[in-house]
């Protein structure tokens, strides 16, 4: 690991100012991704600004019925929170399906959302990777791409976003609150991460020094019935091949609202808006679900080794929503 300076921010404004002054600086949350990447020499910050004590570590109900989750809340505390478990089970489930308890005890909400791809080449500095070193090429396109994306890719990068939490939050229409050198703003979770295009080095839309302070969940009464299904190579402690976050609002057998987001298939948490639009306003059955899922996946561009993700994602959508429907009281 390369030498670096460490500073503990005194407050959020101080954290932003410290980073703004140092182009090679990074915020430190639990360090479970950043320290790993520093050991691999993928991340080379000269200064780490520890933000765990200056980002809120509370989960609170808002006057409008929504819930604000502080960026410094650990993944464990988020998953165990009674309000989250009752109101947004899909969020607790997504967190519990990621990493291990030991990691979730360290990991923060802010760090989870900004964790970097697990593409093997990205993590191996002896290989070409446009995300790590722009312009060097993408080793995955002709290499091991079984785990990588089928939607939203570009000729420059086919990496997936690894966060389970982000998938659930995308389905819930969550918003991310930040403060940065230019003040504070709110960004819809679905717009936090970006598609690679010709600049795969930028995972997200945040500017240097922009600090995530909180995630806000809107009041979403029907989310009390929601589910996260994660499909992976082993039963636990593995990243998703495909995952689905879903919630459904059924009134007299008609879909009043439905939320579907996919993980493991794209460079960002993939909100399945096309499938949702096809389902809203009609009845729900296996056939309609299959057609909606197929429409969502119509633009999928698989690589040599990951075409299996298309039927897997289709079946996962169908099964997950059907499970919710069949479990309805």
């Amino acid at each position: 690991m390369r030498p670096f300076r460490y500073e503990r921010a005194t407050d959020a404004a101080n954290a932003v100012a410290l980073l703004a002054r140092a182009p090679q600086a990074a915020f430190l949350g639990g360090g479970t991704n950043l320290v790993d990447l520093m050991k691999l020499d993928v991340a080379r910050p000269e200064l780490l600004v520890d933000v765990r004590r200056v980002t809120p570590r509370t989960i609170e109900q808002l006057p409008d019925g929504g819930v604000r989750i502080g960026a410094g809340v650990t993944n464990s505390d988020l998953a165990a929170d009674p309000l989250i478990r009752r109101r947004y089970p899909v969020v607790a489930q997504a967190v519990l399906n990621g990493a291990s308890t030991q990691l979730r005890n360290l990991a923060t909400v802010g760090g989870n959302l900004l964790q970097r791809t697990r593409c093997l080449y990205f993590q191996d500095i002896t290989t070409a990777c446009n995300k790590r070193e722009p312009g060097t090429g993408c080793s995955a396109i002709e290499g091991h791409n079984r785990d990588l994306a089928i939607l939203g890719t570009s000729p420059d990068c086919i990496a997936t976003n690894p966060s389970d939490l982000a998938v659930a939050l995308a389905a819930m229409d969550a918003t991310v609150q930040t403060i940065g050198p230019d003040g504070s703003r709110a960004i819809p979770l679905t717009e936090l991460h970006r598609l690679p295009g010709s600049e795969p080095q930028h995972d997200n839309v945040l500017t240097h020094g922009e600090l995530i302070m909180a995630v806000v969940l809107p009041p979403l009464p029907f989310a009390t019935r929601s589910y996260y299904r994660k499909i992976r190579d082993r039963a636990s402690y593995a990243f998703a091949l495909v995952s689905v976050a879903a919630a459904i609002d059924l009134v007299d057998g008609q879909v009043r609202d439905v939320r579907i987001a996919l993980g493991g298939v794209a460079p960002k948490p993939w909100r399945a808006t096309r499938a949702e639009d096809l389902l809203r306003g009609g009845p729900v059955d296996e056939e309609r679900l299959r057609r909606a899922a197929e429409a969502e996946l119509a633009d999928a561009r698989p690589q040599a080794d990951n075409a299996f993700k298309i039927p897997l994602a289709r079946n996962a959508i169908v099964r997950t929503v059907l499970d919710l429907v069949e479990a309805a009281p």
Partner: protein, 178 residues
């Protein structure tokens, strides 16, 4: 860059100067001579380095020592009190729940923390069996002894190269029962 930090390890206070790059695992093993947490992967993937960090289990290989100045740490070596093995340690021995033993200190620390977490009602991915998620809203204690799948899921962050898993389950069930 050198920084002075304080750590409480297995009940004893230490002051030490560490380079900012030092992880808690290296501080414990290389600086304080506590080799009970093991270095398996050094990347958060195996759990051999598991310690209790301010009461919660954590991978010490990804935690920077400077970021945990003032922390209260318990390693597997510190679980034994007054020369008496911790019940989890005794149960691992009685059930022959290890082979080479390299992963064992991490397994035992993890298991001790897990029993505590289940008692306080922390859910796991297995706690939500019902597709609509309502199972997980029961925030009461989780019965580990009756649910070996809960144990498997909650211990999945600790790998065992010797695959001694089969005997770890009854070892942990016994402690969870008592």
């Amino acid at each position: 860059m050198d920084t002075e930090i304080a750590l409480r390890v297995d009940g004893a206070d230490h002051r030490l100067t560490v380079d900012t790059r030092t992880t808690l695992l290296d501080a414990l093993r290389e600086r304080l001579g506590n080799t009970s947490p093991k270095k398996g992967c050094d990347h958060g993937q195996c759990g051999a380095c598991t310690i209790l960090l301010d009461g919660r289990r954590a991978n010490s290989c990804l935690a920077l020592a400077v970021a945990h100045d003032g922390a209260d740490i318990v390693t597997a070596a510190g679980l034994a009190a007054d020369g008496q093995l911790h019940p989890m340690q005794r149960s691992f021995i009685e059930h022959d729940a290890f082979q080479c033993g390299y992963c064992t200190p991490g397994q035992i620390v993890s298991a001790v923390a897990m029993v505590e977490e289940a008692a306080t009602g922390w859910p796991s991915a297995v706690t939500y069996r019902h597709p609509d998620g309502t199972d997980g809203t029961d925030t009461g204690p989780v019965d580990l002894a009756a649910n070996p799948d809960e144990i498997r899921e909650r211990m999945s962050g600790n790998l065992c190269r010797c695959a001694a898993y089969a005997n770890m389950i009854p070892a942990i069930q016994e402690v969870a029962r008592s």
